[in-house]
């Protein structure tokens, strides 16, 4: 069981120290949302505000997305750019993103100061909202969530109920293999250092389908995509200055039409753009308003890249990007 209170205190004291010493420009973290049971991102500029920072089971966002924003910010004309590092609170899964961002030279290592937090699992907000359905609407935000063995305890108004962890945990946390941040300036909490083996059990159901069943499955999923591009906007590795799907000149790669033909093209191209880079932070799937299981596509490519090219994104900043490197002995048995 993780003592969230202790972790929160340590995050606050670290943040206070960094801000007071002026070592960071600001800190990106999580705060309690006054209107929702789910925590939300917050930007802390002043030491006096550090007590807003928290870490708990509802800190679902991958905050590194905001690091990319910061790196893209151009200083206003005549203004001296403030190049101090940005402080950021990351979970182990999110820390892998930083490795990729550093590897791809989007975020220089010295522009980020990382508070790595060991192993806070997260819940799936959609599942939590379902679980809270019978609690009065305006009370849901005050619900307290605690770990208890294999269960979560939901507390509100002096009452409490128990729910199996499996029913609330985010899918990505159920198959998590890394419980300690892979990159950080300070690591808070204790946990297993070793990576677990990823068996990719969660995509087996699709792999076991016949090709036509697979297509029927994906057709149903992709057909309902509304092409809001939230999966792209939430993805810290989708940082292109101008996305190919927004470009009009010299050629419009994909029509704006929302239909299977255009949706499938979008999702397949996006999957390829993330192949060898995606660290499975799960943001794409979490933010999808149509609940499309986007992660499964990414995970399959992670699996195949591992099997074929022995590529493990998000571990080592010195490693070359998968598509920016090759091995003379790469497999190519299907090639004529």
């Amino acid at each position: 069981m993780t003592d969230m209170k202790a972790l929160t205190d340590q995050i606050r004291s670290t943040a206070r120290e960094w801000l007071e010493k002026g070592e960071v420009k600001y800190i990106i973290g999580y705060e309690k949302d006054p209107n929702s049971p789910i925590a939300r991102p917050v930007f802390i500029h002043e030491p006096k505000d550090v007590d807003r920072l928290i870490i708990d089971l509802t800190c679902v966002n991958n905050l590194t997305r905001f690091l990319v924003d910061e790196m893209k910010n151009k200083p206003k004309r005549g203004e001296e750019p403030d190049l101090r590092p940005i402080g950021i609170v990351v979970k182990p899964c999110d820390s892998k993103t930083i490795v990729e961002l550093v590897k791809e030279k989007i975020v220089p290592r010295d522009r980020v100061k990382i508070i790595g937090v060991v192993s806070p699992s997260t819940i799936d907000p959609k599942k939590l909202n379902m679980a809270l359905k019978n609690i009065p609407q305006n009370k849901r935000k005050d619900v307290k969530l605690k770990e208890n063995g294999n269960d979560f305890i939901l507390e509100y108004d002096g009452e409490s109920s128990s729910i199996p962890q499996d029913d609330l945990l985010a899918d990505k946390c159920k198959v998590c293999v890394v419980h300690t941040p892979v990159i950080s300036d300070i690591t808070i909490g204790e946990g297993e250092k070793d990576w677990k083996k990823d068996n990719f059990e969660d995509i087996k159901d699709i792999e076991d389908m016949s090709p036509d069943e697979r297509w029927e499955f994906w057709k149903r999923q992709l057909d309902r995509c509304v092409r809001c591009y939230a999966c792209r906007e939430a993805c810290p590795l989708c940082y292109c200055e101008e996305c190919v799907f927004d470009r009009e000149k010299p050629y419009r790669w994909n029509e704006r039409t929302v239909g299977l033909k255009e949706n499938a093209f979008y999702h397949l191209v996006r999957a390829m753009h993330l192949a060898g880079r995606c660290v499975d932070c799960g943001e794409c799937e979490r933010v999808c308003p149509m609940d499309i299981p986007i992660r499964k596509i990414n995970r399959y490519l992670i699996k195949r890249a591992r099997e074929r090219f022995n590529v493990f994104p998000g571990i080592n900043v010195e490693e070359d990007p998968m598509f920016g490197s090759y091995d003379v002995d790469d497999p190519g048995e299907d090639i004529w």
């Binding site: 939300r40 929302v258 933010v287």
Partner: protein, 358 residues
């Protein structure tokens, strides 16, 4: 007088409507955990909170072919109408917030120029709203009662049905609704006083269950003087610019128009667009009137609470809560609207903002 229809008679009703008047029927259907309005031949469970995508899609489809292009040898030289159906449409099970939203879209799409595509479908469609009864409703973000609506509101609907267990309590509100009663004939039975009072009780409870509130008093006034407020920086800092809030909004109406050539055939289409996208307002020259996310979020809030009211005399929000529950970073329209009031008040009274900047 109100009527009743037994739940096990719904399929019969559907058959009658289809056989006698060729009604096309749409209802919320849950597939893979996502509720969407779908064309149905058999009545689905109808146990739903609300659809993920708003039913405006049925009147103003996300992508719609406006007309085809006429070809002359290698070039397109004109337009060709596409064939449209004239069959009546029935939407079975709209939430009252969404049917109220239709009144807002009506105002917009009939503003001086009539949008022919919207009007065509709107005129053909009969809307049956369902009272939001417990335990399916309310969802965490519903706040219709603050926006002039209610879980039992009948505005914008042709009929209001209330779930009473085995039967629906049926109130017809318009000629279109009466037509349905006529076609249903003996499938509808008369309600008695016991039903009436039970329904009244259900409705009272439904209303009580909506406890999220937005006090709209003062929002407009606050917005009128806070265009340049720092508040917009604050709340939009975490915005991802994804556009979920607008695409899922039952009253957002922006669209893009463009031509598509596919396999030698040309057509003009329109597709929902969003003021949250940077290229939405970008000029061809590269100049962008709303270059940053805060400008675009600000536009969304202003559009709902001020611009719509100034131009069309109606607030552009029905309190369905989709933008709140859909937002990946918890941007909450209630909090923003309350927040801007507060920011205005604080700013003038205590000068906290100035102190903060020092």
């Amino acid at each position: 007088m109100a009527k009743l229809i037994s739940k096990d008679k719904l399929d019969d009703l559907l058959s009658r409507l289809k056989e006698q008047e060729k009604y096309e029927v749409f209802a919320p259907v849950e597939v893979d955990g996502v509720t969407l309005y779908q064309h149905i031949n058999k009545v689905p469970s109808l146990e739903f909170t609300n659809s993920n995508k708003p039913p405006k899609d049925l009147f103003f489809p996300q992508t719609e072919t406006m007309f085809q292009l006429e070809r002359d040898d290698k070039v397109f030289v004109g337009t060709k109408d596409i064939e449209t159906s004239s069959d009546p449409i029935l939407v079975l099970g709209m939430r009252p917030c969404d049917s109220r939203a239709m009144l807002i879209l009506d105002k917009l799409f009939y503003w001086d120029y009539v949008d022919p595509y919207y009007k065509d479908r709107r005129d053909r469609t009969t809307i049956i709203s369902f009272t939001c009864t417990l335990p399916n409703m309310p969802k965490e973000s519903c706040f219709c009662t603050s926006m002039g609506g209610a879980p039992d509101s009948n505005e914008g609907a042709d009929m209001l049905w209330t779930d009473m267990g085995d039967v629906y309590y049926v109130e017809s509100l318009t000629d279109k609704g009466n037509k349905l009663l006529e076609l249903g004939g003996n499938l509808f039975t008369d309600s008695d006083q016991a039903h009436d009072s039970k329904v009244a009780e259900i409705k009272v409870n439904a209303k009580k269950a909506i406890s999220r509130k937005l006090d709209t008093n003062g929002v407009k006034e606050a917005l009128e003087k806070s265009f340049e407020s720092d508040y917009w920086d604050e709340f939009a800092a975490r915005c991802l610019g994804c556009g979920i809030c607008t695409l899922l909004c039952p009253t957002c109406h922006c669209f893009d128009i463009y031509d598509v050539i596919s396999n030698g055939e040309g057509r003009r289409e329109r597709t929902w667009d969003s003021c949250q996208y940077s290229h939405y307002t970008a000029h061809a020259s590269g100049h962008n009137p709303r270059p940053e996310k805060k400008h675009r979020q600000r536009n969304r809030i202003y559009h709902k609470f001020l611009y719509m009211e100034n131009n069309l005399d109606i607030i552009g929000c029905v309190g369905c809560g989709r933008c709140i529950s859909g937002c990946p970073v918890n941007i909450d329209i209630i909090e923003v609207a309350e927040g801007i009031k507060e920011a205005e008040g604080i700013k003038e009274a205590e000068g906290i903002k100035e102190a903060k900047n020092d």
